[in-house]
Symmetry: C2
Subunit: 169 residues, 2 copies
DNA sequence: CCCCAAGGTTCAGAATTTGGACGGACTATC
DNA sequence: GATAGTCCGTCCAAATTCTGAACCTTGGGG
């Protein structure tokens, strides 16, 4: 299966992964959320080749995650900012940070702290239910095909044969 | 910079990405959360070469995200199940699904629906503050170096020079 | 004995990704 | 008006990764 085939699957994970599913794109997004905007800054912070930075920034821009805007004329210089669509990725990035903090922080603790300005506390994000506001865990969720599922290609969607989806060992 | 150097960075995103940051690993995790457990099932659903499946399952197992357990003797057959650490990735996967649902669902709607058993409703996950329980958006968060930051290599951590971290365009 | 099943491993060749050099469009400084 | 410097990219050879297909192992069935 090829990279772009992913985007055509009737699966939101596949479609999202087709846009942001590689190491460097995720690192670029991390930096974007930290306020990095310029090509040179991304390159300097990541220490990888300019080719990759350029390719990833282009993909993110084409997908509408970032927008390229001039910040000066003569010479024209652009920077890359998160769009609203890009900012919608914040839960993805925060979920990744949180997992890393929990499972890979050294004895000293987390490399970064996040303060919720509204309440003034350092916090961890909690995933809650949009309907009842209670925290949600994997086992409390039942997944089934939705309206966007392709009925002629159910294998991609329908949970595989197993006692129950997301069941305990 | 090489793949494994990522894991050594004082950054929880980098450390997490070093484990799950590639297309196929994320697709495997999606399937794992849908209840897929067997090598052959992962291979059949993803349609990619067995080599990649084997490599990714091994990495996830080595990292403690999946655990390989025998489900029958004679001949011994194993399956791969999510550990607690693996189940902690649910917010990551759900955040990815949610973003895909919002920005890439066709006119028909989302390919999958998620029902919160506790309240019986189909829901979308909402990221809330662990301290005040309010929903959190990117702009309400202020990021700063934490105890696990390396002071001798601040460039990896400290927000780049910008008017303010995560500021609006 | 031969074939099947599950769960892999091995290997050559194709495709992608990477790093490092180079280019182009300006400005600032002599 | 040379020269150097900044910023953003592109080009190409080399390194890595992915693919597809064959092969291996443990055991069962005809």
């Amino acid at each position: 299966m090829k990279w772009d085939d992913l985007a055509d699957q009737p699966c939101s994970v596949a479609r999202t992964v087709a846009v942001i599913g590689d190491r460097w794109t995720l690192m670029i997004l991390r930096d974007a959320f930290l306020g990095v905007r310029r090509f040179e800054a991304f390159q300097a912070r990541l220490g990888i080749s300019r080719t990759i930075i350029a390719e990833r920034l282009k993909r993110l821009t084409d997908e509408g995650v970032l927008i390229k805007t001039p910040y000066q004329d003569r010479p024209v210089r652009h920077d890359y900012r998160l769009t609203d669509k890009g900012r919608d990725l914040y839960p993805v990035v925060m979920a990744i940070v949180t997992w890393g903090d929990r499972h890979y922080a050294g004895p000293a603790g987390a490399p970064l702290l996040h303060r919720h300005k509204a309440c003034g506390c350092d916090f961890a994000p909690v995933m809650t239910c949009s309907e009842c506001q209670a925290p949600v865990t994997a086992r409390e969720v039942e997944t089934r095909a939705g309206p966007g599922a392709l009925m002629d290609r159910p294998s991609v969607i329908v949970p595989a044969a197993a006692p129950s989806p997301i069941s305990p060992p």
